[in-house]
């Protein structure tokens, strides 16, 4: 069977006053209906990778690749209009910053309703009920109240859960989740990840998941496979359970800097970039 997503030699370039800057440099991977985690430090190109799959990299950024196919569709040759159809229905992305992705002058309820109505026809009464069930499904306790709030009036974690709920409406084949749970407590986080998990494992046609995160512990316990990125390149790829045995000094550096529940160190080690930098 064909993999869901195939990427070969993906590059994202930004022109700057000092010449071109390559922020993703020759990335290749394939994804089935499984959970792929991408970790790496800030600025390593994780979000750009996610955005370039949806062709959402803003000008003047340029995306090139030898191959970028999703379920047999060559995304490189799709027009903006065809991409919009794919984005809406088959690939969803939870953006890193919910505050910027939500419309600040529309209530949460209105925004979810709008997302619902672009995917299916529903009678008015039904819409409200669906909005409430969706909010409940991401563990928001009092949906009637929250639906009436504006984005700046919900807590950071609620904003993230609203985004996830909206992105799951079309039941996509591929979900790109960029730091979707960084503002959630571990208990709600586990419940929300379970919802995503159900879709990945659903019978008939499971969903592919690209899970971008800083939280190495979480990724290693939740995903199937992990890519470790640094300055636009994959430095290490491993099975999720084996992340803690990673060998690359960069990955080891990241792992060492995570505080532990029974922390006794007085100072956390930070990445020593000179140790592994090749340039």
């Amino acid at each position: 069977m064909n993999p869901l997503l195939e990427i070969e030699n993906l590059r994202v370039t930004f022109p700057t006053p000092r010449g071109d800057l390559e922020v993703v440099r020759g990335l290749s991977f394939t994804l089935g209906r499984e959970r792929l985690g991408i970790v790496g430090e800030s600025g390593s190109g994780k979000s750009m990778t996610g955005r370039s799959i949806l062709k959402l990299v803003r000008a003047p950024g340029r995306v090139t690749a030898d191959r970028l196919t999703f379920d047999g569709i060559d995304l490189l040759t799709r027009s903006e209009r065809q991409m919009r159809a794919i984005r809406g229905a088959r690939i969803s992305m939870v953006m890193q910053d919910p505050k910027f992705s939500l419309n600040p002058v529309m209530t949460i309820g209105e925004q979810i309703a709008e997302a619902l109505l672009t995917h299916q026809r529903l009678p008015r009464r039904e819409v409200n009920n669906r909005v409430f069930t969706m909010l409940e499904s991401v563990r928001i306790a009092d949906p009637e109240r929250v639906a009436k709030l504006y984005p700046h009036e919900v807590s950071g974690g609620m904003g993230q859960r609203v985004m996830i709920a909206m992105m799951l409406i079309p039941e996509p084949d591929l979900l790109i989740a960029d730091e979707p749970t960084s503002a959630l407590d571990v208990s709600v986080q586990a419940q929300v990840l379970d919802i995503i998990d159900e879709l990945v494992k659903r019978k008939g046609k499971g969903m592919g998941l690209i899970f971008i995160s800083h939280d190495l512990n979480l990724v290693s316990s939740y995903c199937d496979r992990i890519l470790v990125m640094n300055t636009g390149e994959v430095v290490e790829e491993c099975k999720a359970g084996e992340l803690m045995n990673a060998t690359h000094p960069y990955t080891r550096g990241l792992i060492a800097s995570i505080p532990r529940l029974d922390e006794t160190r007085n100072e956390l080690p930070v990445l020593d970039r000179s140790a592994w930098a090749t340039k």
Partner: protein, 246 residues
């Protein structure tokens, strides 16, 4: 001496009451963590102390003085807040210099250049960043600027709302080390909201667990390290965190 004391604090937004009967005593120089369910009102407590959520009843005392519902200048010099999102907490059209200098202008403090350079040095920002715009800084550097801004007025209390949750683990380590050092050097009191129990274990002395607007448990960090929390909900949080780590 108590730096911060909250008594029977009920905070509302309009008709909706968010927190119920919150009581906390935080000693001078202590580092106190507030953890708990998303949406339980942790940020709201910080905002009420800071004056950004003015509808509350009960008592808030800062160094023994009752806190009013607004923001006064005298209070600004005692207590400052660092926000969660380093991308949203800096004005996109202002340079680091302008962002840091604003506090001095508002309070009519002179010696601007020296003060700015001093604070930048204390948070580990090189001088070359002084006239950059936020978009020319990385997430970690932005968070340093946000911390520097909070330190401009030499406050005694820092309210930290998830200061590292948007940062990668290596930058998080840098910021945590920085906060720890600053606290020792300047004898600061921290009240920090976070979801990350290991961070609590690294940086804090005590913690309170919140759920649905109420504090369900106050414990020593030593108890957390030993896995000795009492309340079922706190235990749940602790167990999930422990499960991730291996």
């Amino acid at each position: 001496m108590t730096a911060l004391s909250l008594k029977n604090l009920d905070i509302s937004y309009g008709d909706v009451q968010i927190t119920h009967d919150v009581n906390l005593e935080i000693a001078d120089g202590e580092s106190f963590a507030l953890v708990g369910e998303s949406g339980s009102g942790k940020s709201t407590v910080l905002k009420a102390i800071a004056g950004l959520a003015p509808e509350w009843t009960g008592e808030i005392n800062v160094f023994g003085k009752p806190r009013s519902h607004g923001i006064e200048r005298a209070f600004s010099r005692q207590c400052q807040m660092v926000f969660q999102d380093p991308y949203g907490s800096l004005h996109p059209r202002k340079t680091v210099d302008a962002t840091l200098g604003e506090a001095l202008t508002i309070h009519g403090i002179g010696d601007r250049s020296a003060r700015i350079e001093e604070v930048m040095a204390s948070v580990g920002l090189d001088r070359k960043f002084r006239f950059r715009f936020p978009h020319q800084l990385s997430g970690g550097q932005r968070q340093r600027v946000a911390i520097a801004r909070a330190l401009m007025l030499k406050p005694k209390v820092l309210l930290l709302d998830e200061p590292t949750s948007a940062l990668d683990v290596s930058v998080q380590a840098e910021i945590l080390n920085l906060l720890k050092r600053l606290r020792q050097e300047q004898n600061l009191t921290f009240l920090m909201v976070t979801h990350n129990l290991p961070v609590v274990s690294f940086l804090c002395d005590r913690l309170a667990v919140m759920r649905q607007g109420r504090i369900v448990e106050v414990a020593d960090v030593a108890d957390l390290k030993r896995g000795d929390l009492k309340d079922p909900y706190s235990r749940e949080l602790m167990h999930i965190s422990a499960a991730h780590a291996n």
